[in-house]
Symmetry: C2
Subunit: 308 residues, 2 copies
């Protein structure tokens, strides 16, 4: 089968760090074009300022990977789906839940693949964690996701704007893991969001969820962590404690620890190719729904101004 000709749209940090190497490493894909208002190009690959430019004047493509900020993702996705292209959405898949649902409906109507990607679900420890949890009785979950925003999001103003999610930008990674590995649906019962007085989005959040059995799920998100960073999920069960750390890369089970190489984006592109081959979509918006619920239901507190 001929490789899938993919264009990467939005040539920022995540495109360079993750998408380009993952595409280069997967023979099912070939990088056909890049699109960006900046001059951030790839040698030998046609570059366009806008997606419309690519569609009007560029080489044929089969798919686009949208790596722009979420606030502008819908229009690009809509345009691509209208042209019958398959669409890979970086996380979060949109600035609102309803726009993701609308895209999913459109992809279904056009018969093309929409993939709302959640890279943390492809961290090395996640699949074995899900398998180990299946059939066990879960009694509690604790998530600690604390990182230094100055290290990971330097100067990214969009992330502090309405729709940019603030500390939920990393926090949604944890939600994407636990919605995937926990067998029962869960929902938010209480939340406190700490919002810097000069910003629109939270810098920290304390969240309580429950599943239908009443199992408590606690999440501690903070963007003010200097020194060691924490991306840890602990699941207490009747068979002992499961611990996912380093964002899901390391899995500790009673009596054993599994460490594997990072395969997140290669895993995402393998999944995208599989969805295209099967003529299916995967547009799970649950992590974003839980974040929207936190904004809806949570108590907001104003905290110290934040400057980059």
């Amino acid at each position: 089968m001929a490789p899938i000709r993919v264009a990467v749209v939005g040539m920022g940090k995540i495109a360079h760090d993750q998408h380009l190497p993952a595409i280069a490493g997967n023979p099912a894909f070939t990088l056909a074009a890049t699109v960006s208002r900046s001059d951030s190009t790839v040698d030998g690959v046609p570059h366009f300022r806008t997606l419309q430019d690519l569609l009007d004047h560029g080489p044929d493509v089969d798919a686009v990977a949208l790596c722009t900020p979420p606030q502008v993702r819908y229009d690009l996705a809509r345009l691509a789906l209208d042209k019958g292209l398959h669409v890979f959405l970086e996380k979060p898949p949109g600035a609102t839940v309803a726009e993701v649902d609308a895209l999913a409906a459109q992809a279904g109507a056009r018969g093309v693949t929409l993939f709302a990607s959640w890279h943390s679900r492809h961290a090395a420890g996640v699949a074995p964690a899900k398998a180990w949890l299946a059939g066990r009785r879960i009694t509690g979950v604790n998530v600690i996701w604390r990182e230094d925003v100055r290290v990971w999001h330097p100067g990214q103003d969009w992330i502090w704007q309405p729709g940019g999610l603030g500390v939920f930008d990393p926090g949604i990674n944890a939600l994407s893991i636990i919605t995937h590995i926990l067998p029962d649906p869960f929902f938010l019962t209480e939340a406190v969001l700490d919002v810097p007085e000069n910003r629109a989005a939270p810098i920290a959040a304390d969240l309580h969820f429950r599943d239908a059995r009443g199992t408590p799920i606690h999440m501690d998100l903070d963007w003010r962590q200097t020194g060691p960073q924490s991306w840890d999920i602990a699941v207490e069960t009747d068979g002992g404690t499961l611990q996912l750390s380093q964002g899901g890369a390391v899995l500790a089970l009673p009596g054993e620890t599994l460490r594997n190489a990072d395969e997140e984006y290669p895993g995402l592109y393998a999944r995208f190719a599989e969805l295209i081959a099967q003529g299916q979509s995967d547009a799970d918006a649950r992590p974003l729904t839980l974040v929207a619920d936190a904004f809806l239901r949570g108590t907001r507190r104003t905290t110290d101004a934040f400057f980059d």
Copy 2:
């Protein structure tokens, strides 16, 4: 067929004004019990302090109508579904989107009916409005929903708490109508929420939505309206303008105006009986999803303190 024995839980204003008369007027139902922490009872009908009390010591019931504030609705619904009872949820169906989805999954697993009711969808003008719009090209929608909170929600503190929705408590009625009558899904693109400095929920909101064709949908919500109240929806089409007013009760089309008696709650109970007879659920959370999206995506402004 024997009437459906229903218990009304949460004997506040909406229960007395709407649920009790609608149940009394529909031979498919019989009021089997009431539940409330208050002494607000119905002559000759057994009364219980809690739903658990009713389940432990009361007469058999087939269904419950939950009229409590949304923040406590999930646990009551969960308990009722666990006992195999059909559940009628007042609007909004929950304090979060994810809890409604979880209840829908549980109702499906138990084989009972969950009905997330939206009373405004049963306003007299709504069904003919939907029929008239089908097949027409819609070019714009404008919603003005302005009322006096002191008249409609006197002393209702829960409505100002996180999860109480503020001005979206009436505004979600407009959303329930337009999600029902507009043929295409739509989503939020911009919102400004005005929040009193002494409250957690907005007193006014200005919202912009679009559908997949780019049709602009504007919504103006305000709880500070004294004098005449406005609950108006105007839909511009290639066949002229449709105007729903008085919350959906009055429909004006080019050349004709339809006025009918208010049948909202009788319509809801007729629908609930039909769903139970068919063994189906109707748990459409889209209006609540759009509100959550407005909290997620919207810009918050602090405005003057509000005192009842």
